[in-house]
């Protein structure tokens, strides 16, 4: 049993970053996730694990510090909230192109623009469909508890290094700010420089003696080579879609209807299921844990199992619902419910929406 603590989501995340053997955190303050860099600077991990914590001049600089640091094979992470993540999109595209493992945390707030500082889930498109320019993907993990804010740091790093690409924890202001019990995992020591060199021969940390130099770039002026590079990236993404889909199902076994929800919305939807089942309506919850790769096959299986309709519950105008529709492919009814602008929907609203939008007709 690991150490038990009562912590804010952002604090659990920060503690997990230190315990995960992170080499460098580079970030810029933004509400509602500034506790992450505050926790890290207060913890002085440079005196214990040797981890570097640096406040950059902007999110543009943070993500490029990750590009440099991650390119040397070190374990690097940044955290921000929606407007800051928008600024990082250029760097994320380069990092995806150059195939560098890094971890990004987005504690989402209301948008567009400066929006507000309340929780939202309106960055789904940006996170799962690209965000920056070019054909690339991020592995996107969606925590729905403070526990997962901690645990997904390890998962995020594992997947990023396994596939040499950026991974993202897509949280929201509610998960970041709420306090819950969390069981912290035992600290993992940072890799030594020699271990990094042995494990990651692609990394640019000084040309090996008698060996070939390494170059990390996203540029290839030869279109046929760039096309091949893109095919290689796509092949990697297909492999991830095949092997890394993660989800949780609650009461789907006998469900006539299924709510599809992640993060805070999944927590709320659990209560909605209870309310609906009390009324005799058999409802289940499919909680995608990886938003990309999306649990498309599982939704297909649920349709085949006899589910008559899906309601995608998101604090957005309806973004993930597009992926649900693609998976269902017109076979049964799909709709969306969610509040916008940082307003969190109630379990009753969700239950009512299922009855009106999916069951009602």
């Amino acid at each position: 049993m690991g150490e038990l603590r009562l912590m804010k989501g952002n604090e659990a995340l920060a503690e997990a970053i230190i315990r995960a053997g992170t080499d460098g955190y580079f970030g810029y303050p933004i509400t509602p996730q500034s506790e992450v860099i505050e926790y890290l600077t207060a913890a002085k991990p440079h005196e214990t694990t040797g981890m570097v914590v640096l406040q950059a001049e902007s999110e543009v600089a943070s993500i490029n510090m990750l590009y440099g640091g991650g390119g040397t094979g070190k374990k690097v992470v940044t955290s921000s909230s929606s407007p800051g993540i928008s600024l990082m999109q250029e760097g994320i595209s380069y990092i995806a192109g150059a195939e560098i493992p890094i971890l990004i945390i987005n504690v989402v707030r209301g948008g567009p623009g400066l929006g507000d500082i309340q929780p939202a889930q309106s960055d789904y498109f940006q996170s799962t469909k690209g965000g920056g320019h070019g054909d690339y993907r991020l592995i996107v993990l969606a925590p729905s508890s403070v526990q997962e804010m901690s645990d997904f740091v390890l998962t995020g790093y594992d997947l990023a290094f396994k596939y040499r690409m950026p991974s993202m924890i897509l949280s929201d202001g509610a998960i970041g700010q709420m306090m819950e019990k969390v069981e912290l995992f035992d600290a993992i020591p940072r890799l030594s420089d020699e271990e990094v060199k042995t494990l990651y021969p692609w990394a640019t940390n000084g040309k090996p003696k008698g060996g070939e130099r390494r170059v990390l770039t996203s540029l290839d002026l030869d279109p046929s080579k760039l096309e091949q590079h893109n095919y290689d990236l796509q092949a990697k993404y297909r492999l991830i879609e095949e092997n890394e889909v993660r989800f949780e199902e609650i009461q789907c076994e006998d469900a006539d209807y299924v709510l599809v929800a992640y993060g805070s919305s999944a927590r709320i939807s659990q209560k909605s299921i209870q309310l609906l089942r009390e009324k005799g309506i058999k409802v289940g919850l499919l909680r995608p844990i990886t938003l990309w790769p999306f649990p498309t096959k599982q939704i297909d299986a649920l349709v085949k199992q006899g589910v008559k309709g899906f309601l995608s519950v998101e604090m957005s105008a309806g973004q993930m619902v597009e992926d649900v529709r693609l998976a269902v492919n017109g076979r049964v009814k799909v709709d969306h419910y969610g509040r916008l602008g940082g307003i969190i929907h109630s379990p009753e609203e969700v239950a009512e929406a299922l009855e009106l939008k999916i069951i009602g007709e």
């Binding site: 570097v52 950059a56 943070s62 440099g68 690097v76 040309k207 130099r213 170059v215």
Partner: protein, 262 residues
């Protein structure tokens, strides 16, 4: 009779100069007459002379020298436009014993990357920045740069740089020399043999500072020509550079061992 090749001429007994092995054999992509090739060579000679080829990581910019990593035979990363100092910060902070440098042009360093440049300098990152200033955007076809001189014609200042409309040329090197985080700041050129020798001494001092873990960033500006962008012959461009660029961007050390040169 077979054709005479360069290898028939270069023999050990008449070899007076040899290309550093830290330059690859790939033909440079630069226009004939351009200073980039010389500046590349000086940086790589210095790395070789310091015995640091296995302990140096370079960061290439966006601009004419975007392909610097094809010519410099060491570990390299290719940055987004203007972001090289942020990459270099990430690398150096995590590998403090390695030598880390950026190689950037004027648009990269003094326009789109101004924030990254100033803050890396101000934090005193223990890196080297090599800054090639030719007063123009060469790669994209000769547009106005932050360092384009007043009255100078480019494809986006076709009637000459008008300060009322386009602002003033930016002396970013003098600017960053004011910051306490810079330790060595020097402006050099590579258009004559004597300038090349001086530039190499400056570049070597900059890298030596990093070897010595000197407290701050070393910054070398190389004022260079862009004969294609300036639409001149290489020789004319060097004369024009001496007559027009050097008066505005005077050569020499600006800050040494953390102290401004008076």
């Amino acid at each position: 009779m077979s054709e005479l090749t360069i290898n028939d001429i270069i023999k050990p007994e008449n070899l007076v100069y040899q290309k550093t092995k830290l330059m690859t054999d790939k033909a440079l992509s630069y226009c004939p007459g351009c200073g980039h090739g010389t500046a590349h060579r000086l940086v790589m000679e210095v790395v070789e002379e310091l015995g640091k080829e296995n302990d140096t990581i370079g960061v290439a910019p966006v601009g004419c020298s975007v392909l610097a990593y094809e010519f410099m035979n060491i570990d390299m990363q290719e940055a987004a436009h203007g972001r090289a100092p942020a990459l270099a910060t990430g690398i150096k902070r995590l590998w403090p014993d390695k030598l880390v440098f950026t190689y950037q042009g004027d648009g990269d360093l003094a326009a789109i990357g101004t924030a990254e440049t100033i803050h890396a300098c101000n934090r005193g990152e223990k890196i080297v920045i090599i800054f090639i200033n030719n007063g123009i955007y060469g790669m994209t076809g000769g547009q106005m740069a932050p360092t384009t001189l007043v009255g100078m014609k480019t494809s986006t200042s076709p009637y000459g740089r008008d300060v009322a409309l386009m602002g003033y040329p930016l002396k970013i090197t003098e600017l960053i020399a004011q910051l306490p985080g810079t330790y060595y700041v020097s402006r050099q050129a590579v258009h004559t043999p004597s300038a090349v020798r001086k530039a190499k001494r400056a570049i070597k001092k900059a890298f030596q500072n990093q070897v010595d873990d000197a407290p701050g960033l070393s910054f070398i500006e190389v004022v260079s020509n862009c004969n294609s962008g300036w639409k001149m012959t290489p020789i004319d461009s060097n004369i024009w550079m001496e007559e027009n660029m050097f008066p505005f961007y005077p050569l020499g050390d600006i800050k040494v061992d953390g102290k401004l040169v008076k």
